[in-house]
Amino acid sequence: MTHLFESYDALGPPYDEMFAGSVPRESYARLHDTLGTLSARDLAARVEGLASSYLDQGVTFDIGGEERAFPIDIVPRLIDQDQWAMIEGGVQQRVHALELFLADIYGPGEAFRDGVIPRHVVTTSSHFTRESHGIEPPNGVRIQVSGIDLIRDDEGEFRVLEDNVRVPSGVSYVMTNRRAISTALPEAFAEHRIRPVTAYPQRLLTALRAAAPAGVDDPTVVVLTPGAFNGAYFEHALLARTMGVELVEGRDLECRRGRVLMRTTNGLQQVHVIYRRVDDEFLDPVHFRADSLLGCPGLVNAARSGNVTIANAIGNGVADDKLVYTYMPDLIRYYLNEEPALANVDTWRLGEPKHREEVMDRLDELVLKPVDGSGGKGIVIGPKATRAELEVLRSQVLQEPRAWIAQPVVQLSTVPTYVDGAMAPRHVDLRPFAVNDGSKVWVLPGGLTRVALAEGELIVNSSRGGGSKDTWVLAGPGAAPVASDLPTSGPREIAPLDGGPVGDSRAAQAEQQQQQQQAAREGTC
C-alpha cells in the first residue's frame, strides 16, 4: 500500500467505494495504482493547479453574495458498467412515474380516487400550484430535466434520497469537472474508458425544442436566469453558451396578447420555449409573488394559451415534496405496474399520528428533515444535535407535523478524498441528471458526485461546505463511432508547410559570411 493511503481507514460501517477492507475493489484497482505512482509533491502541485484553473475559468458559485471557486477533489469517483445500468434504469423509471404523477394531479386526479396517495398530501404541499391545473404541456413532458439524488447505504445498495424536478442544478460542474480532471490526471484518464459527458447541452436543446408549442417549426429557445447574482449563474451562462441560445433575464422579456417576446436590437422577437432557472414563486407576478422582479408578468397566461412552453413546468415542486417522496414506491407500482428499481430511504411521516409516536422519543437517533427544504437547510441530525436543539426541534415538529419527515441516520458511502496531503474517506452522494424529450428519458452518464469535505460530515451540499468529484462511468467495450452526414471521399495529399526564408541554404551561407566579416574586423583591431 502506498503512503498516500497509509492512514486511510475504510473499516467503518459506511460502505467505502474504493476499498473492501484494506484491498481496493476491482473497479478501482487501476485508479488506486495510478494514484500510488504519484509523489506527494506532484499530487499537491496538481491539486493546486486544479483549484487555480477553476478560479481562472470562473467556475464559481455564490454563498451569500460571495463568489467562490467550486471545490473539486482530485480523486474521481468510479461507477462500473453494471452499476450504471441499474442506476440508469432506476432513474428512467422514476422519471416516468413522476411524469405520470404530475399529469394526474394537475389533471384527472385518479391516484386520489384510487386511494394511492391522499389528496391532502398533495394539496397541502407548498409547491402545489393551482395555477397549473389544466395547462397541458405540448409534448406531454413536464420534467425536461431532473436530478434524482442517490446515496449508497452500508451494503453499497443505491437508494433514492430525494427527487429534484423543479430546477436541479449542478450539471455544469459535471462538464467542467471532467475537463479539469482530464488535465490534472491524464494518466489515470488514459487508462480507463470513460463515457463522455459532453452530449448534455445538445440533448437538453433537443428536449427543449421538442417541447415547443405545436406548429412551430424552428422554435426560439431561451434560458431564463434570475441574474448574475444568483448562486448558479455560472451554470446558466454555461448552458446558454453551449446550447447557443440567449440567456435572458426577466426584464428582457415582455408578454403581449398571450405571447412572450424578447427585446432585441431588431425589435421584439417571439420566444417559444423558456428553460427557466427561476423558481415558480418568482416567475410571474400576476399569479405568484407580486413583488417579483425576476419573472415576467403574463408568463403563466401565455403558457396556458399554448404560445410558450415553460420548462420545467410550473408546479413540479409538489413532486419534490419529501412527503410525496414517501409515496413514490407506491406511485411507481400504481402508474407503471413495476417494482421500483431504486429503493427509497426508510421514512416516517410525522403528519401521521402512528409514525409520530414511533419517532418522538427517538429524535436523538434520527435525521429530521423539513419536507419542502432544499440545499440541506433545516436538517437536524439527531446524534449530532445538542439537547437544546432537540428541544427546539420537538416543539417545531409538534407545532406543524406535516412539515417534517424522519429518517434513520444513513451513513453515506465514502470515497477517498485528498485532504491535507493524504487520502481520507469522505461521504458522497450522486445526482444523475436525466433529460426527457418526450420519446426517451436520457440519463447523462456520470452525474454530480458531491462530497462533504469535513470529517464525518453527512451533508454534502455546496452551501454547507461540500465539494464535488468527477464521476466516471466506465464504458463497456466497443462504443461505435457515429457516422458523419458528409460524404468522406478519396485520398488526399496534404502539402507540407511552406518553409519561408528561414532555413534557406543561401541564407545560411550569407549568415556565415556576415559572421566571418565581423570576426575579421575584430581581428584587425
Partner: protein
C-alpha cells in the same frame, strides 16, 4: 519599403499564426484523445501529423508523447512550435529596425521561453494556452503600434494566407475522420460558441463545414481569411486598375474564394478534401507569386564564375 523587410514581415505574420494554430489543433486533439474512449490513439496521431504536413513513415506507430514531441518540442521538426517560434524570431531580427520596440520584445520574449526550457517544462495544456496568449500579444502589439503602411499589409497578408491554409488543413482532417471531429475542429478554431449561436445550437457536420469554410463573419473561416488577404493585396497595389487584376497572387486568391463562395453549397461540401487540397495549393502558389512580385532580389544574387 525594402523587399527584404517586406518579406520578413510577411513571414512573421505566417509563423506567428502557424504557431498559434498548431497549439490550438494540438490542444483540442489531445483533450479529445483523453476524453473520448472510442478513439484509436495511433490513428488520430497519424491524422494530426498528416494535417500538419508531417506524415508518419509507413509502419511507424506514433503515440501522444511522440506527437507532442514532433509538433511542439522537437527543434528539428519543421512543423513544431519550437521551430516555428525560432523562425519567427529569426525573421523578426532581420526586420528589427522597422518594428516597434514593443513588438520586437514581444517576439523575443516569446522565443526566450524555449531555449530556457520553460516551454517544455510547462504542462502541455498550459503550454498551449501560453502559445495562444503570446500570439495574441504579438498580434495585439502589432495592431496597436504599427502604422498601417505597406509593412502592415505584408504582415496581415502573411497572417491571412496562413490562416486560410491552416483552417483548410483542419477541415480536410475533419472531413475524413469519424465521430466528433467537427466539433473538435470548431473548438480548435476557437469558434465553437459563435457557431452554436449562429445556428441556434443545432450541430450538424454540414453546418460546421459551412461555418469553417464559408462564413463571412467568422475571422478564422477560409473565406474570411482569403478576402482579408485579397484586401491586403489590393491595398498594396495602390494604382487604380480599370480591368482585371495584374497581381497574380490576387488573381489566384480571388478566384479560389469566388469559387468557394459561388458554387452550390452541396458541390463544395461533397468534395471537401479535394476542395481543401486545392486551396492549400492556391495558398502555396499565391505565396510564390507574392515572393516573385515583391520580394524578388531579397535573396543575394549568386555569381556563377564562368563555366566556359
Amino acid at each position: 519599403m525594402l523587399s527584404r523587410i517586406a518579406e520578413s514581415l510577411f513571414w512573421i505574420g505566417r509563423y506567428v499564426e502557424r504557431a498559434e494554430d498548431t497549439a490550438r489543433i494540438l490542444e483540442v486533439q489531445l483533450q479529445l484523445m483523453v476524453e473520448d474512449p472510442s478513439l484509436d490513439i495511433p490513428t488520430t496521431c497519424d491524422e494530426v501529423l498528416a494535417i500538419m504536413g508531417a506524415p508518419v513513415q509507413a509502419g511507424e506507430i506514433v503515440g501522444t508523447a511522440e506527437l507532442l514531441q514532433r509538433l511542439a518540442y522537437d527543434p528539428d521538426s519543421p512543423a513544431s512550435i519550437h521551430a516555428t517560434l525560432r523562425a519567427t524570431r529569426e525573421v523578426a531580427r532581420r526586420a528589427r529596425e522597422t518594428m516597434s520596440t514593443s513588438m520586437w520584445e514581444a517576439v523575443n520574449t516569446t522565443w526566450r521561453a524555449i531555449p530556457s526550457g520553460r516551454f517544455e517544462s510547462m504542462q502541455p495544456s498550459v503550454a498551449f494556452s501560453w502559445v495562444r496568449d503570446r500570439a495574441a500579444l504579438i498580434n495585439g502589439t502589432a495592431d496597436a503600434t504599427m502604422p498601417r503602411d505597406e509593412g502592415w499589409q505584408f504582415l496581415m497578408l502573411g497572417r491571412s494566407i496562413e490562416r486560410a491554409d491552416m483552417t483548410a488543413r483542419l477541415v480536410s482532417a475533419a472531413s475524413v475522420s469519424a465521430s466528433s471531429a467537427w466539433s473538435t475542429s470548431l473548438r480548435a478554431s476557437g469558434g465553437y460558441e459563435s457557431f452554436l449561436r449562429t445556428y441556434n445550437g443545432l450541430e450538424t457536420d454540414r453546418k460546421a463545414a459551412e461555418f469553417l469554410v464559408l462564413d463571412r463573419l467568422f475571422p478564422r473561416s477560409v473565406v474570411f481569411a482569403l478576402s482579408r488577404a485579397e484586401q491586403c493585396l489590393e491595398n498594396l497595389e495602390s494604382a487604380g486598375q480599370r480591368a482585371g487584376f495584374q497581381n497574380e497572387a490576387q488573381r489566384l486568391l480571388g478566384r479560389t474564394r469566388a469559387e468557394l463562395e459561388y458554387r452550390a453549397l452541396a458541390d463544395v461540401l461533397n468534395d471537401l478534401p479535394h476542395e481543401m487540397e486545392r486551396l492549400q495549393r492556391t495558398c502555396a502558389l499565391a505565396t510564390d507569386a507574392v515572393t516573385r512580385r515583391y520580394f524578388a532580389g531579397s535573396v543575394a544574387t549568386i555569381w556563377n564564375p564562368g563555366r566556359w
